[in-house]
Symmetry: C2
Subunit: 223 residues, 2 copies
């Protein structure tokens, strides 16, 4: 249980949870979710797996800590949007961009419940919902809806990043998927075929924001 109180630095190369998490984030960013292994992590830290386990209970806790570490920066400042709507968009886009930069965060957010990172996002969203002037009874549902939508997009973005071959560009992937949609059975997938061209040219970030705005529209409609 890493009390870490008495002496701050017994050796110059002292291990610490912070250093471990930092190395884990680097590894995740470079090699993806499957690249984080206690073996390569301990090699990078020039130690053995056992030493890491003295600071971190298990891999799950390490992933949570890594997610928190990255999202802490994004969620540090209170949103400065002029209106509550803009503040909500700001929070949502902050999370979106963080996931875009570190796709493994998306997997983590979508997989693990009641993580402190998710809770902080929930809090930021909820405060702005309160400022929106809708009935108090709707606050909980509205904040939850926004959070779940964001987590849903997070999971999908992470899945897309995971399944993408290193050599292909964004347009390649979208183009291929768009053609797949266009070639679907017309009887079974009329709608999906209709929007196939839009898939090719759409911007993930803009569409994400459009979804936020739809929920926001529904919330403000309660006034």
């Amino acid at each position: 249980m890493a009390t870490r109180t008495r002496h701050t630095d017994r050796r110059g190369d002292a291990l610490s949870k912070e250093r471990i998490v930092e190395a884990a984030v680097d590894l995740l960013d470079e090699a993806g979710e499957s690249g984080l292994t206690f073996r390569v992590l301990s090699a990078q830290l020039k130690t053995g797996p056992g030493a890491i386990y003295w600071h971190v209970a298990n891999k799950s806790e390490l992933l949570v800590a890594a997610t928190d570490a990255v999202l802490a920066g994004v969620l540090a400042a209170d949103p400065a949007g002029a209106t509550p709507e803009n503040a909500i968009r700001e929070v949502a886009l902050g999370v979106f961009d963080a996931i875009d930069a570190h796709p493994w965060i998306g997997t983590q957010l979508a997989r693990v419940a009641s993580q402190s990172a998710a809770l902080r996002i929930f809090e930021r969203l909820g405060r702005q919902i309160q400022a929106l002037g809708v009935p108090e009874t709707a606050h909980f549902d509205a904040a939850s809806a926004l959070l779940n939508y964001i987590l849903g997009v997070a999971g999908q973005n992470a899945a897309n990043a995971r399944s993408q071959d290193p050599g292909t560009t964004r347009l390649d992937v979208l183009g291929a998927e768009s053609e797949l949609w266009a070639s679907l059975d017309p009887a079974e997938f009329p709608f999906t075929r209709t929007v196939a061209p839009q898939l090719r040219d759409h911007d993930d970030r803009e569409q994400f924001l459009a979804g936020v705005d739809l929920i926001l529209g529904g919330v403000t409609g309660l006034r």
Copy 2:
């Protein structure tokens, strides 16, 4: 590549992808996501791991097939809701209830992109969006928003189910989490503390539906 064309049944106990998927679903339902193993699966089918690999490429494909198999039933019939709004609610609740009954589906939906099951949900949602009479340019965004929201809830429900100890009731879990929210730092989590009591008494299914209605409200607001 399992052509499976010429002869329908070489032996009475013939293995097939269907039988494998069926056994996998049983295993997932009984033992959870970590309970599905090629070893116990092959034991249950009275064969070896190698035989399974003749019919299924890998575990990922097996999980996709299992998810599709369960959701196929839910998505078979066109929604019979009187209004497009009700039809959308019906599709969403069908998926929600399926995840409630088989939590592992939630993990799978939230994790894997462009799965055929997700595509079928998207199609059902999109058709009803078309019937809603909103501008065509908004169809893609609206259907995506609904799908992402549903997938987000799916992932969270699966995560909740995963982290729940076998002995505890729903009220225990909610009560504990509610107390945790209530005990958060008032300076940092004012909103979350405010809604803590609502967390204890809320109904997941109703809240899910409330979220769908918020998006629906935003969409119909575009008319």
